[in-house]
């Protein structure tokens, strides 16, 4: 498999706090990669660095062999990196269809007008929101807003999709639906990085995992190996004891 994303030696500081410290890892095209670590370990910061929301203080991020570190997020998004947010972000005063159209209208090959509406409805159906096109996003439940967010991200036709705790807060049935949805994305050839705490989902979806602790990468490898890594175990346990 070829390398889709290469993170090398990335550092990000906030004032005196180093949120990410010389992190390096590789994402291969077509894989679903789990990004793990205790709370505050720098996972979301890493996502923000990849999506361009934050600018790294040092290091490089190459997407399809092109350097994207420090580029503005809309350019990265147009290049094919889409994301969801840890705290869900939808445009409340717009309806569901418009929210998805937001993903379609500004990508590299934009869709607009009735073509965009049809595509938006198709994506809504795919995430399980068929028939809800007219509902204002603000009136949706948290879970539906998450689905909406994913539909918007898919609208960008991403080659790399960043999911930030997208499965958090789902009940058992919803979780199963969510897992199979993500799996189907992988089958469509979308590469996924998912920050997640739901271990069952990770075991079932991710072939490989990267684990962070206190801003540094402490393990990278196949999911089974990583889970057994003593450093990872102690990071989690230590975190729980703290």
């Amino acid at each position: 498999m070829s390398t889709l994303l290469q993170v090398s030696g990335v550092t990000k500081r906030f004032g005196g706090l180093t949120a990410v410290r010389e992190a390096s890892f590789v994402v291969k095209a077509g894989e679903i990669l789990g990004l793990l670590g205790p709370n505050g370990s720098g996972k979301t910061t890493m996502m923000n660095l990849i999506s361009g929301n934050l600018r790294p203080d040092a290091g490089g991020i190459a997407f399809e062999n092109t350097e994207i570190a420090g580029r503005r997020p809309h350019l990265i998004a147009r290049d094919g990196v889409a994301r969801t947010f840890q705290l869900v972000r939808v445009v409340g005063e717009m309806n569901a269809r418009e929210n998805v159209m937001a993903g379609l209208a500004f990508r590299k090959s934009p869709l607009w007008g009735s073509a965009a509406e049809d595509e938006a409805d198709r994506l809504l159906e795919r995430v399980g929101l068929a028939g809800r096109a007219q509902t204002p996003a603000a009136d949706m439940t948290y879970i539906d807003q998450k689905r909406l967010e994913l539909a918007r991200a898919l609208g960008l036709k991403p080659r790399l999709l960043l999911l930030d705790e997208w499965l958090a807060g789902l009940n058992q049935t919803e979780l199963e639906g969510g897992v199979s949805l993500i799996r189907s994305l992988g089958e469509d050839g979308v590469t996924v990085i998912m920050v997640e705490h739901v271990m069952a989902a990770i075991r079932s979806l991710c072939g490989r995992c990267v684990v962070m602790n206190a801003g540094a990468i402490i393990a990278e490898g196949s999911t089974g190996d990583v889970m057994a890594d003593p450093a990872v175990v102690s990071a989690y346990l230590g975190d729980e004891h703290a």
């Binding site: 997020p73 939808v90 500004f106």
Partner: protein
Amino acid sequence: MKNSPAFVIGAGAILFAALAFVPFYVDGYGLALAIGIASYTILATAWALFSGPTRYISLATVAFFGVGAYTVAVLGEVLPWPLVMLVAAINGMLLALVVGLSTLRLAGIYFVIFTFGLTELIKQLVTWYEVKITRTVGRYVFLDIDQQTIYWQLLALAAILFLVGYLIGRSRLGFALRIIGGDETVARHVGIDTTHAKVALFVLSALFMTLTGAIMAPRWTYIDPAIAFNPQVSFQAVIMALLGGVQRLWGPVLGVIPMTLLFEYLNANFPNYFILILGIVFMLIVYLLPQGVAGAVSSLRAWSRRDGKSVEEAR
């Protein structure tokens, strides 16, 4: 059918064509009133064109208005009128471009006061330039442009503004701005160049404000920085737009007309208590019409239908 572009644009064209006949039916005061309404309609609508979706409250309206007026004061007797307007337009857009690029990263109140400060700075610099270089503050504008012509120019400008506003509202640019207004982070992450979009609209909105100033200038014969850059104009435009409602293109005009008429009514009947009564009326409006006039109209419509389509309708 009712919302089809052809229908809306056609209806708008008929409306503006009808309004063009106003000067033949009213006297000098009626015309003056129509000019007042038309000029503030443009200012408030142009303001809302940018500030409505993005929620940036700009107090720089009069900076552009004043630049337009001053361009006329300086060049009005030197160049032919269309050329003066062109220069004014270029000045206003250049200023807006500089301002837009440097300030749109400020948020909330910081942006509000920045735009106010900027207007004052421009006023001070124009004054200083006139004092030091031309040795005269206050310019005389003797142009033979009669009141009807001023009105027609304003009307034409308003028509263009509404057409442009309508088209933007249906365009990807308008859509981008609504997303920016809703959540700028989202906007950036769906591929919108937010700086571009905001600056483009800011410049466009400034263009209309500048031209309004240029058209109005010959009305006053005499222009000095205090007259051209009177911050009251900015405040009044904001207030009227907010009162009318900024979420819809036709919202601000619903603030402009009643406010202008209210001003006139109070001024005629209570010249000595004008300010006091205006203040009281103003507060009452704020309490009784929280969503602005347009909001009230919309909710009234929604309420009278009760068929759940009100959300679509509100767009």
